[in-house]
């Protein structure tokens, strides 16, 4: 089993969700997050004094999949989230040791 985590631009969330629904994914967890990458935020002027918006708002998606569909989900997110501009975000895959569905107690792939 794999955990796919993606940090993407907030306004791309709908596109990503649609793409994942199309490939038949059962569930997504979404969190509002803030952070910075290589750009280190951006500079603005407020009442004549400069300041840096250090932490840019993003959304983080978490998706659990079986080993076979991980790459497909990964590719779908990358494609849907891309604008070609700075700050499009990242997607990564991590292995998962165990998963349990709380209601039924199903474990492993059955719980996905």
């Amino acid at each position: 089993m794999k955990l796919i985590t993606a940090v993407v631009k907030p306004f791309k969330l709908d596109d990503v969700k649609t793409a994942l629904t199309e490939i038949g994914l059962p569930g997504i967890t979404v969190t509002e997050v803030r952070g910075f990458g290589r750009q280190r935020g951006h500079t603005e002027v407020y009442r004549g004094a400069e300041y840096t918006v250090e932490f840019v708002p993003k959304v983080r998606l978490e998706v659990l999949t079986d080993d076979d569909s991980a790459q497909r989900v990964h590719d779908a997110i990358v494609e849907a989230a891309r604008t070609g501009q700075i700050g499009d975000g990242k997607v990564w895959i991590t292995p998962v040791e165990a998963v349990t569905r709380v209601r039924t107690g199903d474990m492993g792939n059955d719980a996905l």
Binding site: G35, G41, V45, G48, G87
Partner: protein, 549 residues
């Protein structure tokens, strides 16, 4: 037909029949309003008309008519004075939104509490002594009729310095309809000066220090200076004593209200010192963005609306038809102020700055407050445009040169532009209004219309004396006051936010407040606090939490 459809049909039928009943009955009274209010109403309201059907053609009848006319004249003016006073009262809401929006969410409760407490505390101080100091010797106000009991001023002839009737609206027989209506209008003006200072002392003053500041404003700083301009005091008599035009002229209070508030705010900001994180070690300023731009815009618009009472109401009567000119001049100046501040920030910083544009609109309002009755619309436009630029320059100056922390721009909006408004009278007053102002024959005329420096000199005296008084007295009160009370909160409290330590409640308890601002505690509860040493603009992260992206 289902039951549901029957129900809908029946309901429709009911409403149609209701409309039909209303349309078919043609009996009406005076729908055009042409016959309501006539001789019968006059005879019923005036004395001596019992049973009569027409006014007697005699001196008695003429006197009756004259009495009634005079009563109506004053009544209309009372209504005008009170309604415009209520509008000025509503400006409190605008100020509350404005200054709370321009500061951080962690202090929003403190900001709002200061606004409403200022109202109550300063009003009581003004009721007890302030009003008497200011207007105790103002003499009768023509538009409000009657023989005013406010006729006792300390200081001889042209040198009046303080009024002495009207303490607790009682001393000197001041329990009087005219005096109390006048009090309502004047107390809301004092309130305006009272909450101007909040903008400059925000996010760091202790509540006790704040109460001291409001008591000083309501009892001493505002009323005594107000006496010199509006209460029959010596600055208003510079025309009679030194031959300077019509004496110092300040129609609705660019100086008396706004500059006084602005300079008092300057003194307070200097004694308090800047917020933690506002200035770096090399004294360069950091931006500390406010938490709600929508609050700022709503507050500004409410203030514009309230100003429609502030300036036109200062005629003290609707029978002075100059109110039309006053209102339009006020709007023109406000809009020119906004546009010039918007254009300047766009030119200088690349984008129009919303809060500075709003400050520009307020700057235009402040600057036109003294000249609004004396100038033509074109001059009002110029006054507003210059005000819009002055406020941008002022905010820049206090940030980058004077290193005085003024979170809401109160000093630039009210102090600098109050002074500019006073000067503008001495330049642009066109001589169409103000005959007999301050007891001087002839209308108010500025340098550009009669080539004489007299009026301008009187206005400059108003600016200089106003600064020395408001800044000096407030500075003195606070320098002495801080020996006895704690005027500023501790650094820990300032970083955590003033809401919980000062009042035990958060403005926004359901939200986790972000920590990316300068001087901001990492979290609302259990914060690790201490003055930040890193600078905000260096691009270094201040938190160890890093979200990958």
């Amino acid at each position: 037909m289902s039951n549901r459809q029957k129900f809908i049909a029946l309901t429709l039928l009911t409403f149609i029949s209701l409309i039909a009943v209303g349309a078919l009955t043609h009996h009406h009274g005076d729908a055009a309003g042409l016959t309501t209010g006539n001789t019968a109403d006059f005879l019923g309201s005036s004395t001596g008309g019992q049973g009569a059907t027409s006014v007697p053609v005699s001196q008695v009848g003429i006197n009756q008519l004259a009495n009634e006319s005079g009563h109506l004249h004053v009544a209309i003016n009372f209504v005008w004075l009170l309604i415009t006073g209520f509008l000025v009262l509503f400006m409190q809401v605008g100020f509350a939104f404005l200054v709370t929006g321009l500061t951080r969410a962690k202090n929003a409760g403190h900001m709002m509490m200061m606004n409403i407490a200022a109202f109550a505390v300063a009003l009581i101080a003004y009721y007890a002594v302030g009003f008497a100091f200011q207007f105790g010797g103002v003499a009768p106000v023509a538009n409000l009729g009657g023989a005013s009991p406010l006729n006792n001023i300390f200081g001889h002839g042209n040198a009046g310095v303080i009024g002495l009737h009207g303490f607790f609206l009682q001393s000197g027989r001041t329990y009087d309809v005219g005096v109390l209506a006048f009090f309502l209008f004047q107390v809301v003006f004092m309130e305006t000066a009272g909450y101007i200072i909040i903008g400059a002392i925000a996010e760091r003053i202790s509540f006790a220090g704040f109460i001291l500041a409001e008591l000083a404003m309501g009892a001493i700083v505002y009323p005594i200076y107000g006496n010199w301009l509006w209460g029959g005091g010596w600055l208003a008599h510079l025309g009679a004593s030194l031959g300077w035009g019509n004496g110092a002229v300040d129609f609705a209070g660019s100086g008396v209200v706004h500059a006084t508030g602005g300079w008092a705010a300057l003194a307070l900001a200097m004694v308090l010192g800047p917020r933690i994180g506002k200035f770096n070690k090399d004294k360069s300023p950091n931006a500390i963005p406010g938490h709600s731009i929508p609050y700022v815009v709503v507050g500004t618009l409410i203030l514009v609306f309230g100003w429609m009472g502030f300036n036109p109401g200062s005629t003290f009567g609707a029978t002075d038809l100059r109110i039309g000119v006053v209102a339009v001049n006020t709007l023109l100046s406000a809009c020119f102020g906004f546009v010039f501040a918007m254009a300047w920030t766009a030119y200088k910083y690349g984008k129009p700055d919303i809060s500075m544009s709003c400050n520009g609109m307020l700057a235009g309002l402040v600057a036109i407050t003294a000249p609004c009755a004396f100038v033509a619309p074109w001059a009002a436009s110029i006054i507003g445009a210059i005000a819009g630029l002055l406020v941008c320059g002022g905010v820049w100056f206090f940030d980058h040169k004077a290193h005085i922390d003024d979170p809401c721009g109160a000093i630039s909006v009210h102090g600098i532009n109050g002074a500019w408004g006073i000067i503008a009278v001495g330049l642009f007053a066109d001589g169409t209004y103000g005959d007999g102002w301050n007891g001087i024959k002839g209308p108010v005329k500025g340098l550009f219309y009669n080539g004489h420096w007299g009026q301008l000199l009187a206005q400059i005296a108003h600016v200089v004396v106003g600064f020395a008084w408001a800044w000096g007295v407030m500075w003195l009160i606070f320098v002495i006051g801080k020996r006895f009370i704690k005027i500023r909160v501790s650094p820990e409290v300032e970083l955590e936010g003033l809401d919980l330590p000062e009042f035990g409640v958060l403005a926004y308890p359901d939200f986790v407040l972000s920590s990316s601002d300068v001087g901001h505690a990492p979290t609302q509860t259990g914060a690790v606090v201490g003055p930040p040493t890193t600078t905000y603009s260096s691009g270094e992260p201040q938190s160890d939490e890093r979200s990958p992206q």
